[in-house]
Symmetry: C2
Subunit: 358 residues, 2 copies
């Protein structure tokens, strides 16, 4: 990333970007194009609204957390009517609720889902829901894969996903600043008909430029160069093994957390992030500070109504099994410092017992 | 940029971003807020359309090159009627033409200008035009400062600019991926009334978050960290000296180019980029390749109808006087290689004569 920049209109960049584009297809498990944008993941979500819809289209969204709510917020900004399915935080939407909504609202243009809801740690059964949508309607299946691509099993083509978004700083392991959108042929056809206004996020321009390994606007060159290396690592490890590693890490971590008597927040947990109830009466600020200043470990707090009540441990990207041992060791220390009764080593031993099985 | 990332919701990032925000005010010469976006400069231009206008508003744009045309393209995407003043490529718009347009179209909401038109190298007299607009109308003055901020004299407050955009990879000297918008109080008031749809580029969210040195969406942390260092350098050099340096570099380079018998493309040249007519009959590809592969020098070609007819030399950001000597030395060599009669040393001597005067 700190190497001298290649100019983005010169052949060296084209060559690098061709490789990046090819490897992105592999990560998304698709033979379709994956567009690269300079934005946060939210920008790519907006691209999936403005490029696929027209005034008067109705969509279904699932609001089971902060990020699921965002699909609806964006759509309403553009005057798109939203059938919003509310799901309690920490739970995943069931396919039958999507089916009911499709039956109650025939003609729905697209269903917007969140694969791994970062605010609650809940994972959605994308494969089952996508099958339901396609069996019973003509709607597009659009997915926020921001904390799932490169962590959770996600097969864009095989599962019939029409649009899937991710960001650079999660499963792809590089700093934030790039976002990505994979698009099916059906989504591309919808894009040609869509009338919502767009310019910077106009995916028709991005797709046209991508044909010659170019971008319509100046790309974030240093990040694309970093991505090239990250994707090479991912290709070497292989998607099946990456997904399996994330699952193992999540299960190992959770064994440690439960051994400490802590309670998991979600019944349908993602393999990318593990949210945990903070012990009754414990100050989040005190706990976070003990983790950070005394142990050098950074974790996230709760969001929305769960601020100060849960904490969230990320384990997507470049984490390994020893990281899970280390984070549980830090939890033991920080919990003890905050007055929670801990038997030293109980959590880490549970992680070891779970993960030392091949 | 390659240092370990600070998490963007943690105090260390807030402290860094507070410093960045303060120093951006200095660079724009404003006491107002300068918003930081993750996008190319085009995204920030779109932000200046969708945040300041409502359906039914009419604007004036100046199309004297590819980037001046872009203001109109964005506005038309959002259904905004555009009074477009066409200016021959390489020329700058005169204040009297803006005045006429304002008189012919009373009630115009905003005038969108390009300070340094990168495609042609022409610089606009922003100070004079801004004074004209404010004297004769209530319209906002919105400026594409992408290749001028940090290179050309630009005084946001003193000149009465209402919105000014730049990108990270030009005068600010870091890799592409960030864009910036400075906003006057009058622009902020317009923003509250504006009804065009926006979400990712909603500057109300960015301004609200900026109050606590935060951003609404995940920032490009590595680039913000790099920017922090670049801005510290700029503060140390001082804006007056930065502007003077760019002017000197441009004049030195141009003396060298004219000594070689080449012709400048623009009569009103920017201090950020110098476009030059390619000698009659010379192949741009051959010339570019001689510069790049034999001399390691990267320059840009022409755009639009001037593709293959002009070349453009950038000298904004971290360039010094010896760079101007070196680029003219490379021009001499590449021109000779392409069959143009060159007296070796004539160009570089002219650069030296111009720049060795204190």
């Amino acid at each position: 990333m700190a190497a001298p920049l290649v100019h983005h209109r010169h052949p060296e960049f084209r060559e690098l970007f061709a490789r990046v584009q090819e490897n992105l297809r592999y990560v998304f498990q698709t033979s379709e194009r994956v567009v690269t944008l300079v934005s946060s993941g939210t920008g790519a979500m907006e691209a999936c609204i403005v490029n696929l819809l027209s005034a008067g289209d109705t969509i279904i969204t699932v609001n089971g957390g902060k990020f699921g709510a965002r699909w609806g917020e964006i759509a309403r900004q553009y005057g798109v009517p939203v059938v919003e399915l509310k799901v309690p935080w920490g739970e995943a939407v069931q396919p039958v609720r999507i089916l009911e909504a499709l039956q109650n609202h025939p003609g729905v243009k697209a269903v917007y889902l969140t694969h791994s809801e970062t605010s609650t740690g809940a994972a959605t059964d994308l494969q089952a829901i996508s099958a339901t949508v396609h069996e019973h309607s003509d709607a597009l299946v659009c997915v926020d894969g921001i904390t799932s691509v490169g962590a959770h099993e996600l097969r864009f083509d095989a599962w019939g996903i029409d649009a899937c978004v991710t960001g650079s700083q999660k499963g792809l392991m590089i700093p934030p600043g790039l976002a990505f959108v994979a698009l099916s042929q059906k989504a591309r056809a919808a894009m040609e008909r869509a009338t919502l206004p767009r310019f910077y996020f106009d995916l028709r321009r991005a797709l046209a430029a991508a044909e010659t390994n170019d971008t319509p606007w100046t790309p974030a060159i240093a990040l694309v160069a970093a991505l090239d290396l990250a994707l090479a690592h991912m290709k070497e490890e292989g998607m099946d093994r990456i997904w399996e590693r994330h699952k193992r890490l999540a299960l190992g971590l959770r064994a440690g957390i439960e051994a400490l008597g802590l309670r998991l927040f979600s019944d349908s947990p993602s393999y990318a992030v593990t949210p945990v109830w903070l012990p009754e009466g414990m100050s989040w600020k005190h706990f976070q500070s003990a983790l950070k200043t005394e142990n050098g470990v950074t974790i996230a707090g709760g969001q929305g109504e769960f601020t100060g009540r849960i904490f969230r441990i990320a384990h997507l990207g470049y984490f390994d099994e020893l990281d899970m041992v280390a984070v549980v060791a830090a939890l033991e220390r920080a919990l003890a410092r905050c007055g929670y009764v801990v038997e030293p080593g109980r959590g880490v031993a549970a992680v070891q017992r779970t993960l030392m099985v091949p």
